[in-house]
Symmetry: D2
Subunit: 323 residues, 4 copies
């Protein structure tokens, strides 16, 4: 089975030994819990990353019972950042990160080699694990085989554990359940973030990967509770940038077995969550952050700020649910 | 608000009074529970509907704790039946139906008028309620407004309560949550069957329609438990044709609060469910029915029977999960 | 190769002999030219089919150099008609049809058997050929193999020649080029109407079917000229209901070799064509017919009439191009 | 109307004057003709860009009557190259480029600012014009308004003319005709490459932009002739990497008015073109290049090389059409 992951026997000897060594050193970190995929604050005047505003937000986020932070998820406008900005943000977050929090870094690129390089740099800069999205530009050729080879190579070489990432709404590529299941046997692949929201798929992946302790994270607060109920261990939720306490409380209620309260809270989170994802995107996340004392700030072009009408529509969605 | 549902004041006076009268007579029947969308048995030789085999299957299904049966759902090959066959099947099922079971009949047609007529005939033939799918041939014109007017007219005229039906995998039309929410205020619309499987949508519709007691049914055993957990009241599940006892047990475990057993069972049902829906369709349902002593029989053309290879693949899926 | 089209040797002997006999009797009718897929006129008061208005429109259409008429194409609201209405319309059109015009009747149903029956009835009522759309409700199962078997059975049994019909915008099923190419060898399949508009596919099908004299019709005035230029023989164009003379003139200019005038006319037709198809659908066709002295009338529910705003937008599109 | 393209009056004064000055200096270069979107040759051992092999291929391409070359189109694996590699390739091609050939460089990035920067660097490195693809990662937010603002900013700032680029098969975003039409008024936007292949859209864009001399290039050899016939001025065709002489001959036949020969050649090119695009992608282009004395070489991961079976299938497609 090992052979499945390697290009050649030669590569196998070196990299697999490394991977297995890493694994034996306890790579199977526990990633259970809630994470905000943090937004990147830009200065309203210069358009540059504002590390000051980032510190401001980090302080707030550190005060919440998150398991950690995800840097350079889709919500972080990572594809609109330069390579230097990306690394610098990782370093800054790491420098203030409390010891008990994880730092998961989005490292996926279109190229396998570039992904390996960014994963390596992220690890040096302090990443606890890397999130690797499905490549997508050549979507017609992203067969199960191509995806599997890509993830296997990255996992072979990454100094830190790999979390697979499926976000078909952005990429147009839905990571097939079978690929996730096969990859779960790789010693350096510890889990998956699924933003597609097909709950049967999430349950099936959990079911078929239990032997390897594969950990699934819901990719949205819109289906966090159902995901936990079928066996996911947590969530990476754009809405947690804004309503972090509430999203954490949802997982807590679930773990305490308070099904009724959990259900009520889950239902109230659906519309605000849709508001800051499908409906209004990152500009919606940033606008709503401002209402709660965090710094939102502008989005980078080609993304557009919300219009007045959109803003009041979003505000209405939040207030209708009591937030 | 009533006006919203009616074409004109004139139509309103007559039909709304009827609808309200029906409503006051207890139209809000409780549809909580599990239903098989029953397959239509065809004679292997003549290709005709076999009422004898139907009786055979009905006996088995009546012995299970189903809330009722759905006749002429997508799994019933309804679009491959003649109008006469459709009505005759309703009558036959009604004639043997135990008093405590509901008979829900798929009545949706492309034309609003034809839907009203078939709903009326179905009611006469014994339907407890009708399932009305979104029209779909002119999908580019099936705006929220068009769908709402269609459902409102049908609900105005149907002698029995209406259950909305969204099955985008077949129709290419996803009934928008907002349309379902607005329709929930209609006195003759009692619920919705959702086969799309977007769990956040199901939770949101439940959340926004509680005031009217709108009842949501999951359209698949693949996401029955998550649906119940966000507030659905049951499911119409193709897999219940074959594994009826297990699907009923899933809802029972949920209602008893046995979360762990429920979760385990839910997970085991996902792959067999996918096998008889997305993967192999109705031919898969019918093939699997044979293994459990029910009559499956042939599918109607243009549907094709499973190949030997597909059959053994399906069998493997069932046995791997212990069924 | 004959075997490919038949379910069994037995069926083959009978039906193929029939098919071959029909073929030898000159089934390969020449369908080159332009056809309006005629709208079905409904009485504004009763909502019934108005045969009087139909006669009015037919007179106008007969005065144009159409090759014939298509009855019960997508534009004819065929899925909103009862079986009786469908047949009666065929009979009425046939009774007044000039001898030199063809009458092509849309006969496709979800069920193979029902399609054969309607094709047979249509032939008796006067159809010169039948148009058979891809079945689509069980779209996940409409594999190349399933489509091929469906078309082959219909072609085996139809008393008049079969024209395949691909209209993915409505059906969600794109008839694969390879299926069309294989079906072109069937003696009772004479061509294809393609409304998908992928010009490379049209050219490829023409290229690979020349040996059988397979005749391709463009399914829209939006790409009639490019289709003719790659070898199509004509078009079935919703816009020809309204601008019949212009659409006929486009083919005439092409045949005369007047490339420049043809190109200019083609370009001017694109926006009005989009207006009565993708943009506003059948209600748009009917509204525009009124401006040119034809009877448009209402559409059947669930289709909606155009709003005032839509009407003036459509009118602007026509006037901007000088129509 | 100028205001439409600018963020603020201030930005307008500076950049518009620049743009208009550039325009008055003859920015409206004539881009009529055929271009290969050249593949990037990688060394089979090291995986690095092989500039030697690039020179080998360039010599061959320069000997053909191409109007120029496109560097960093989708076929160039541009998303799999580092920023340094991208610029170096532009410089190398420029250094050997004959004076009468154009060098069009793909400069589109997800970020507006990064696109402007790469366009500026490309211009310095010798680009005659830049090709700017629609951003696509945040596809749900890529409204007409967002796309228009993105293109306008890039066009305002780019030192060389801008060609819009729509390739929905890769990006999942189809550049709307109306956006292209509005952008055609910008003095620094000279045309569009359309790989979507909807011929009515191409004809419509040509029709509505004639006043500004907007130049449309077909994005594929599969629909080059139909595009020329509705008014496109040339094509950027992956197949021209391999069958450059034949693709150039197709445009030549069209221009000479030899409709029959052009049609025959167009039809023969469709299947080989599909083979190296939709069917087998870049690995197919590279494999076929080897057959004709060019260097193909490996593709970069996550792309996979063709299997033996795929290779012989591709070869069969070419030989069946006589290539």
């Amino acid at each position: 089975m090992l052979a499945k992951f390697s290009r050649s026997i030669q590569a196998l000897v070196g990299s697999r030994i490394n991977a297995l060594r890493r694994a034996s050193q306890g790579n199977r970190i526990n990633i259970s819990g809630v994470y905000p995929p943090i937004t990147t604050p830009f200065d309203a005047g210069s358009g540059r990353v504002s590390y000051e505003k980032l510190e401001h937000n980090l302080k707030r986020w550190y005060s919440l019972p998150f398991r950690g932070l995800v840097v350079h998820g889709s919500t972080g406008e990572c594809v609109l950042l330069s390579a230097d900005e990306r690394l610098e943000i990782v370093r800054r977050v790491k420098s203030s990160l409390p010891d008990d929090k994880l730092l998961i870094v989005g490292a996926g690129q279109e190229s396998t080699q570039a992904t390996i390089e960014f994963a390596t740099q992220s690890a040096k800069a302090g990443a606890s694990a890397v999130l690797v999205v499905t490549p997508c530009f050549y979507k017609g050729r992203m067969t199960a085989d191509a995806l599997e080879k890509h993830f296997a190579r990255v996992a072979d070489e990454s100094p830190v554990p790999v979390i697979l990432y499926s976000v078909p709404g952005n990429t147009g590529v839905d990571l097939p359940a079978d690929v996730a299941i096969r990859m779960s046997a790789h010693p350096n692949v510890i889990g998956m973030k699924d933003s597609g929201g097909e709950i049967a798929k999430i349950g099936y992946v959990v079911h078929k990967t239990r032997q390897y302790g594969f950990q699934v994270l819901a990719g949205s607060a819109g289906f966090l509770l159902p995901s936990l109920q079928v066996g996911a261990v947590g969530g990476v939720c754009a809405l947690a940038n804004t309503l972090g306490a509430e999203v954490c409380r949802l997982q807590e209620l679930h773990e305490k077995g308070d099904a009724k309260e959990a259900r009520n809270l889950q239902r109230r989170l659906i519309a605000p969550n849709a508001g800051v994802t499908k409906r209004f995107g990152i500009a919606g996340v940033k606008a709503s952050m401002e209402w709660f004392g965090l710094y939102g700030g502008p989005v980078r072009s080609p993304l557009l700020p919300l219009t007045e009408g959109e803003l009041s529509e979003l505000r209405k969605i939040f207030t209708e649910e009591g937030f």
